[in-house]
Symmetry: C3
Subunit: 444 residues, 3 copies
């Protein structure tokens, strides 16, 4: 760790200089943010209803922005001695990815086009946040076990492969996934899990610092609740007109049902019959993940409740039973349980979208039928194909990234440095660990 | 308590299955969220100015949503050993009521109509949150003294009688109450107080765990501030045009004056002359409650300040003097003091609306006169009548509900289980209570 | 301190009565909130694109509102024993200033006009929040060293001189400063620093209570993140059309770069090579301050990154090196380091705006050229002139205010009362200070 200072500083400063240069070469304001038409920006939209104005995008953009920094950031503060790192590295990663993904998203958007400039508007800012969400999900799998340098390396690679996955899934397969069940949640989770598998250390299991204390669990609820509240904006943000309205309704219903069912299941599977904050903090959100790919489809309100209820079952059982098995059998340590919150519910979302689409027909969908890009059976098939490709890319590229991060040059953490803010932060006080715990941990 | 597991799980799972079936039978997307008109949803509004579009509703809806889960949820975390229960049962109740009130609100809306389907849009989601607010206010009166099963039973009943009260007050009496002083705040408070009176136990008085600690009071301020900030959206949400704009201005002014006056009074009535966090957390919000029924009326800015100032006086004195008296004399234990924050300020709001309306005339109100449904004196009278009916329904139905909840089959709490997360949550640590406090409490 | 009760109560009650009277005399609803035109408020805007409707203002207004109470309020809770005072006096000051600045802003707006009424709409509420921001920045400089009475006196004076500074800078010099780098951030900082210099006590240096503990630093991050998230609304709120859109983009980019560079620098300048929460909580925001005066100009995206990166350098180095020097050499104690977050980055913002304007020309700016009120070189010069006048007014009036506050009649604090909630709040518990610390402090 003696070189932490230099590496973290160097990599960030070099990256920032490169970003400034690349932004100078490639990035400018979009038409509605540029100098040309002073006056009412609403009037610049020629195809009313197909394109969203600044006023229609901005409130949803800000909701998603809150999800990134307050939502993900505080959700991760449940660890008793990693509150600084959780909320702050989440902050750093988001900012880094906003810059980097603006470039990468833009370059991928140029493919086949005639422009060589990236034109920014509030929609591109929203898509930068979606890239950030993907990286932050992966971060959750290795929370407390990676240095800032490792996280930045990971983010740099992940933003590129995330765009590859979207290029194949959306541009070629033309899958529909308005809320990112496939391309954000499942992709981010399995990429992160593959990294986590590579970074696995035996000492992670039953580490004394990998737990919450009473008030760190309350801090985490700030994250949970803001994610829950603004998830409708996440799922509806890219949609327009009635589709957008429907995506909001579906997501609110799915999340509500998911929360009720999570409370139902959490206590019945507990040894003492009590509720478990891990479930409440996480599984209540699975309804948002699973609804993502179908949010603008006609699942109908009862369908949205059914999807949310199913997601709660999958996610809660995942936390209680599957996660310990995966850790024991395949040495997969998943700090935040992203497999249960984003991985499996993301796959569920893809499957649900294929089923929902299979039931679609022109009579019921009317104008909304234009959501689809293929015949109904083809579209359903491509949903599954896109999911398979996304998972494949995520797992392979995540594993390779994990291998790269194992190279002992990225401020890698030792066993006793896991889940501990003191490693990277000026904070001596350790009020929550007893002396015996410290000793126990120091010698492991 | 041996059967907690089974009952909480069973009631929630059964309810969720019933909700899915009933949603399948009765609920579908509203016109603007349905498949018909792809394209700009704004253009579907035929009566511009009388009906709000998705874009006009959604930001205010999200503000109200934040009030429900962050506002109410964190305000209640002031208890030192009930943080999990406060924020989480608040979360569960909100989700449960969103589903249940969508049905009940919809059924009441069908009365006299020709449709037998409930059509969802963002406005119906807003009204589901209003029903949730009513239940959460009642929850505040019995915070820490009821099991989740009892809370769910209470919510199920309350949503129905809440709709009865609105049917009489709004459909028949045609009272105006844009921000719910009467039908949300006063109703929710007196319903909850009636329940609390029935559940009263002697041990609640001076219970060692019914108090705050330093950082739980700071968590509570997160709730207070978000309630304060988004209250203008609560009071203005259902209004349109200039009325909506005016409701925002009136509410901001009322809340600001209320906060200043609360700070003025809090220290002068304290024995040591110091400020009291209970007042700052709660009475600062009374200006929002009292402004509710008059928010879209021409109170004029000075009137809004006067209303907010009066609410601060009523609420602060209520916390300081009336609450201990009620506890001693009529055995009314009110954990969050909802009588002082929602009950009395709600009644004040109804009276203020009657006075404001009495001073109204066509010359001053111009087009805004269409707010009223009767002649001026009639409208003023119906405001008071609606309040009386709401209070009557609340107190009677609340008392009956409380009686029902006393039946020893709903995971009722024993004395030593009051205000304690350990009863329902996996959390052993008790860092904030000394050994002596534990002993003292355990034997009471 | 024996008279605290009386003074704080008296001053607030007298002020509130005066406000009610003055509102009755001077303030009424604006046209769009008044009774006249019932119906679609959007249609009342005659000059589409030049004037913003309620719907365009309200979401940004609410974002700024959150910045005032959650942002500033929680950012200041980093102090271990001043959490109540930080969040609550911030709350009181904001409410007091909303009322007082509505009057003062309105009176200044009348100069040269023909009306003698102040007409309220959501835009005037936004400007009341801007006045509040200025006062809250000054509050940061004297956090924990001033009584509520002193704070109210300070706010009363500052709102007036703030308006004088804007009158000279904007009405006469016609400087452009959409996000308030000059008139809000630099002004508020130097006013507060001048007050702080006057209130300086030797005992402030190395006071045992002037520090954070682990979880108070996490509370503070709630403030940081919400300020960061909603800063684009602060900088873009007063702008229209493409300028508003551009201000959002520029601010998001500037803040992102600022955060990355702050993380880069924080660890390299630390003795142990570790990250410092003070930097992460504060310097990450300097990019929003420095972008303010140029947010609606054509800095281009790379320019926004450059501005944010520069602000991070200035601010972080300020916290690390300049602040201790200023304290030692000129006895300037700055509790929150507002000089580093608002003062120097505000000056940087003014300089950046002059440079950006110097490079402007009609070809590039097209319709956006109408932002400027003079020829390009003149406009650049007036930017600097306005900054100089703002700083001059701030420092002189701040020093005089500080002198006034030193009069021993405003509940002035003794040395042992600094940074301590117990002075003004009902809270006996002191879990975070050891007995030896208390003794040490009590005798200083």
């Amino acid at each position: 760790m003696s070189n932490t200072r230099g590496k973290e500083t160097s990599i960030l400063l070099v990256a920032q200089v490169i970003f400034i240069v690349l932004f100078g070469l490639f990035v400018d304001y979009g038409e509605r943010a540029g100098p040309a038409s002073h006056g009412d920006h609403n009037s610049t939209s020629e195809v009313a209803g197909e394109e969203l104005t600044f006023d229609q995008f901005y409130p949803m953009y800000q909701d998603v922005h809150v999800m990134m920094l307050i939502g993900f950031g505080f959700l991760m503060t449940f660890l008793k001695r990693h509150g600084f790192g959780s909320v702050s590295f989440n902050f750093l990663l988001t900012c880094y990815v906003i810059e980097w993904s603006t470039l990468v998203n833009g370059w991928f958007g140029m493919i086949g086009g005639s422009t060589n400039k990236i034109h920014l508007d509030v929609e591109s800012l929203l898509h930068a946040d979606f890239a950030a969400a993907t990286v932050l999900i992966s971060f959750g799998a290795i929370l407390g076990v990676a240095s800032p340098v490792q996280l930045i390396i990971m983010a740099t690679i992940e933003v590129v492969v995330y765009n590859v996955s979207i290029y194949v899934g959306v541009e070629i397969f033309k899958a529909v996934d308005v809320g990112g069940s496939i391309f954000i949640h499942a992709f981010g989770a399995y990429f992160g899990l593959a990294v986590a598998r590579m970074l696995y250390k035996k000492a992670q299991t039953e580490h004394t610092k990998e737990g919450s204390i009473y008030h760190s669990d309350i801090f985490a609820m700030i994250g949970t609740i803001f994610l829950w509240l603004y998830w409708p904006s996440f799922n509806a943000g890219p949609a327009v007109g009635n589709e957008r309205h429907r995506a909001v309704i579906n997501t609110v219903l799915s999340l509500s049902a998911c929360t009720v069912v999570t409370f139902a299941i959490s206590s019945v599977i507990d040894k003492k019959g009590k509720l478990n904050m891990v479930h409440i903090q996480n599984a209540t959100l699975a309804g948002g993940v699973a609804m993502g790919a179908s949010a603008d489809l006609l699942t109908h309100p009862f369908g949205a409740l059914l999807i949310g209820s199913s997601a709660a079952v999958v996610s809660t059982l995942g936390y209680q039973y599957l996660q310990p098995i995966l850790q024991k059998r395949i040495k997969l340590h998943d700090t935040c349980g992203v497999h249960n919150l984003h991985g499996m519910p993301g796959i569920l979302g893809a499957i649900v979208s294929a089923i929902t689409i299979s039931a679609a027909n022109m009579d019921a969908y009317q104008a909304s039928f234009s959501i689809f890009n293929w015949t109904v059976p083809q579209q359903a098939g491509y949903q599954i194909a896109a999911m398979a490709v996304a998972l494949g890319i995520a797992i392979v590229s995540g594993a390779l990234t994990g291998l790269l991060l194992k190279a002992p040059i990225w401020d890698n953490l030792t066993t006793e440095e896991l889940y501990e803010d003191e490693v990277f932060w000026d904070c001596d006080e350790e009020p929550q660990l007893s002396q015996s715990e410290k000793l126990e941990n120091g010698t492991s």
